[in-house]
Symmetry: D2
Subunit: 365 residues, 4 copies
Amino acid sequence: MDQTIRVGVNGYGVIGKRVADAVTAQQDMELVGVSDVISDYRLTTAVCRGIPVYASTTEGAAAMRSAGITLAGELHQLLDAVDVIVDCTPAKIGASNLEHYRAHGVKAIFQGGEKHALTGHSFVAHANYATALGRDTTRVVSCNTTATVRTLTALKDAGLLAKARGVLIRRATDPWESDHSGIMNTVVPEAAIPSHQGPDAQTVVPDLDVVTMAAKGSHTQNHLHYWTVELTRPAAQEEILDALEAMPRIALVRRADGIVALNSTIELMRDLGRPRGDMYEVAVWADILTVHGTELFYTYTVDNQAVVIPENIDAIRALTGTVRDGAESIRRTDAALGVRAEFLTPAQRPVGAQTTAHAFEGPRS
Amino acid sequence: MDQTIRVGVNGYGVIGKRVADAVTAQQDMELVGVSDVISDYRLTTAVCRGIPVYASTTEGAAAMRSAGITLAGELHQLLDAVDVIVDCTPAKIGASNLEHYRAHGVKAIFQGGEKHALTGHSFVAHANYATALGRDTTRVVSCNTTATVRTLTALKDAGLLAKARGVLIRRATDPWESDHSGIMNTVVPEAAIPSHQGPDAQTVVPDLDVVTMAAKGSHTQNHLHYWTVELTRPAAQEEILDALEAMPRIALVRRADGIVALNSTIELMRDLGRPRGDMYEVAVWADILTVHGTELFYTYTVDNQAVVIPENIDAIRALTGTVRDGAESIRRTDAALGVRAEFLTPAQRPVGAQTTAHAFEGPRS
Amino acid sequence: MDQTIRVGVNGYGVIGKRVADAVTAQQDMELVGVSDVISDYRLTTAVCRGIPVYASTTEGAAAMRSAGITLAGELHQLLDAVDVIVDCTPAKIGASNLEHYRAHGVKAIFQGGEKHALTGHSFVAHANYATALGRDTTRVVSCNTTATVRTLTALKDAGLLAKARGVLIRRATDPWESDHSGIMNTVVPEAAIPSHQGPDAQTVVPDLDVVTMAAKGSHTQNHLHYWTVELTRPAAQEEILDALEAMPRIALVRRADGIVALNSTIELMRDLGRPRGDMYEVAVWADILTVHGTELFYTYTVDNQAVVIPENIDAIRALTGTVRDGAESIRRTDAALGVRAEFLTPAQRPVGAQTTAHAFEGPRS
Amino acid sequence: MDQTIRVGVNGYGVIGKRVADAVTAQQDMELVGVSDVISDYRLTTAVCRGIPVYASTTEGAAAMRSAGITLAGELHQLLDAVDVIVDCTPAKIGASNLEHYRAHGVKAIFQGGEKHALTGHSFVAHANYATALGRDTTRVVSCNTTATVRTLTALKDAGLLAKARGVLIRRATDPWESDHSGIMNTVVPEAAIPSHQGPDAQTVVPDLDVVTMAAKGSHTQNHLHYWTVELTRPAAQEEILDALEAMPRIALVRRADGIVALNSTIELMRDLGRPRGDMYEVAVWADILTVHGTELFYTYTVDNQAVVIPENIDAIRALTGTVRDGAESIRRTDAALGVRAEFLTPAQRPVGAQTTAHAFEGPRS
């Protein structure tokens, strides 16, 4: 049994609270505590659940105490007690924390809201665990970028990927938000093409030929991605599905099993008893995926709240170097979180839809 | 230790799957199996979780088997093996099942989608557990009616209720539905005043002076109720809160704790680790509740998927008569499900908002 | 023919642009120009439509000119050319403009986002036109308060109103907003009871016994109000409908005519060819309205973008005193805008729903 | 002045009522009447506006008369009085009407809900007006297909189009629908790839190399399309914009003008005074459109209620042959409807976004 890694989480929001729970679920890690500045039900609940709560600022400490929150101390004390701090503070704020972490000699993991330049290393476990070994810092890329890297790397590893063009339909805000952060009855395209996710994926896998376009939809949970991929050679649907299944944290779903929309997967996670209803996997529709010659078309859904959680866990092991083999870290993380390769059994592979053949009779002259 | 009650669930949908899990959580009950006719992920997941699955019809059995679902048998076999069947089939269908249940000599519990006349008894545990003792059938009233009866009975028991007038803002469809069952960017008032919930509450507590008006809003989870109550005498806010807290399955929440909307309670349930994120309690806003003379105004939110679950569990004990005391059954059910009287601690009671005093200077002449 | 009133509009947003169009539609008014600080399509379109556009600030002027917007001048020049300025700037900003208006000796009308104290007079044409005659300033109350005053005054004028308790389901943001101003898949109750609309209605009709509770729903257009009214005496549904029809700017709708939700009225306005699809009337459901003894229950929908527009037009005449009789001003305004007393013909009055009688069998002993 | 074409509209819904208004706006057409079976506000309003209303069925006639709707007759009488009938009945129903139309010797136009095989000719004015000349029937393709054909044909006519891959984010239901036809807080991908729009576009322009993928979003109006196009040669952004502007019924919009989302264009149409707020043009974002080498990326929004209206008008002229030149028919239609080539002036063409250059540094080795 290897040494226990002492972990702290700074920022107990949508990502932070999930990272905290995931750390607790690992046999080789200990959650020393979480730190924040808010004093409402989110932190009160953490205290009730026995999680040591620290204050990220002195002002925060006063407000939290007056709200009846028992504090284990302030952030600097948490930093003195941990090997790794996972920064889950709001976008851009993390950057200002780096010096603080360095001063305490703790290794730090940042989230996708920060720029690649902050750490000089962007992380997706399967893609580049090895290059993060022993580093002082890394950045776990955003939910959209993580999903993009997972499926494109699966195709790349199989020698099938030439270039990929994606359209990302993002959720507008998080389910708990009620203070005017949403959009209503509209779709909002991003200001520029390409959207940031394509270039962001290249910070993890530099030689990806990828371009993304993105828009925000009027829903609060999960993203939907559509990809048009140029393959290096013609391939059968079966071969593509094999390549995707071979990749950790990608799970196939089927319309034939009743999984027909984003909210189907949300209900499925609840039925599976997942904590908070989280889906760590990228759920690819096996019976919508279509290959035509050297062109591949597919779509999947991504749980924006959960997909980066296992990556954060692996990043902790990579920075500390307690596990040298990325595959082994992924195996441990996924076993602890119950990550699956396929959501429904029996895994009856769909035959390429008949309609497809017809649809691709192609241009008529 | 009393005998174990053998329970079956017919209809494994939003309510049925929750009743099944709640039965499993009771020490004095055994879930013999669930029955349905669908063959998608919802039943596949039940099988994966080790729940014996039966087919409600012979046609259903064929479809389910061909979908790879291992069946424990058909409904009639389930009925031969249980003491009580909880009918969670879609509204109006339950009625056609009653004879089938009678023929097998099993006691039956129906849901709020059925009419009171079907069983002649409508059930809310605290209000009329005793009158259900030993009966062959009862009907657990709908989520909106259950919540209505809980808070009004709390006031009635305290001798405070003269009459109540409510406006119910209902969710439009369930979170998992994706097949054109929703409404979009609108509010739809019910066709008539009063809406059915008021008269329905009188099937449980006949002498309630209650009138309800209802509309469907453009959201998928939880209802919001507003009540204007005429009290029998002037009362302090503190006295009202005491009366509500004295009632099982009512839990106070506070805006001051960050619980400011329907989706705040949904996030809170996830943070509390509730299975499926369920809230069995009626969540009353303690710091919005206002009393002015003999008028009481308050609002609360109701989890339409979960609020009736503990009532179904109590109904099982009442029909079988294994527990004669309603309070004892409620105690057991709530302990097994982790039902709470208050969601956040410390329970700092809000002082009646200053603005209120001013606002109620009342008419100016 | 009376003199032409020279009118300016400061703030060309949701309300401002509608007031501008309505002023143009009046024979006794001239739209001298509109003023704002934004430089996007909203102002570009005004220029294209031939409306003189002024800049409310010098900085705004620079930005607008660089955006290619031809300016007629700056706000102070508009103020020098008008008799009345209608302030439609965002809430709270209007207050800071008052001195500017006074300095130019122009009469000023503010909107419901400002406090009553700013002008000392709050306006709803039918209720208190006379008291605004010749004043330098007044405030047209908010959309919710305007609708509240209209229907309650109708009952009051008929000698039927004892007290009124209302629940207001508000739209969350305006249809054009796309910049994170909305709420999603939730309902947000207001922080306190009573909500401001009740006390606000008393600034127009001081002796109203009214209390309101309000929540924001997940939709972008129109409010829905539910009222529980204590009558001074028993009255027939027919008598109530007569009282409502006798009041200007209240129009009856019927579910029987297919008007079943908020978005039905929006479609109806488009079918009627209303500019921008605006509904100036409060649309009361005649066949949902129910009377039981001395209790009246009814619901209506309010176009939050349009309902205050005719009130602003009347306020212009009242301040200038060109029309002494409120009824005459209302007649002119409504004729110019095509306001109706009933939306659908033939006006078959519904018979009190049979279900109602039954529903009100009332408490069972 | 050419002869007046006598036109009837069968099916007075979202499309039918717009076609009726557009026919009335043409100098060379006469709206003889509209026919339907419903008897609610939609038809009552048509009567109020002076449109002759016919009953599509005898049962419908009875219901309509009893609802107080004055009928001009039944469908067969309307068919005896027109040269062309525009069938706007719900999808699939039109097919059953064809024989009825033939029996009366009237030319017939169907909508995109019908199959190409029904008429053997699918219509988009600019693309194939000539091949519809004198035909007995044609089918105006769906809103999504119409928009697809317009922009791809613009590129094809400029000799720039090699192949196109599109992702279509569709609205879920129409704004007026309130009867459980919507989806809520989700996105629903279509069952198969390609979605029908790509092959459907080939029924109009057979040699298009186009593939589409589609999903329904949680909004009620306008679609958003994203395209990845392989060009025949490198081209400047300016050249692409010229090609799009040269095509009728495509209008450029700019984020720089404040048009940032689907609901921005809806508000813009209202500001422009468009009847029902309709947008007949495909609104392409000029400052999001990006070219990189031989790849073109762009996005636009489509008013699903209005985009096919001008096509129906042209189809009427084509079938009757009164105007032999498609360009002349388009000119007349667009002049009558106020169709524009650009929505905002001055038309400052955006310079290719600097960020783009950087973003396309492309793969890093």
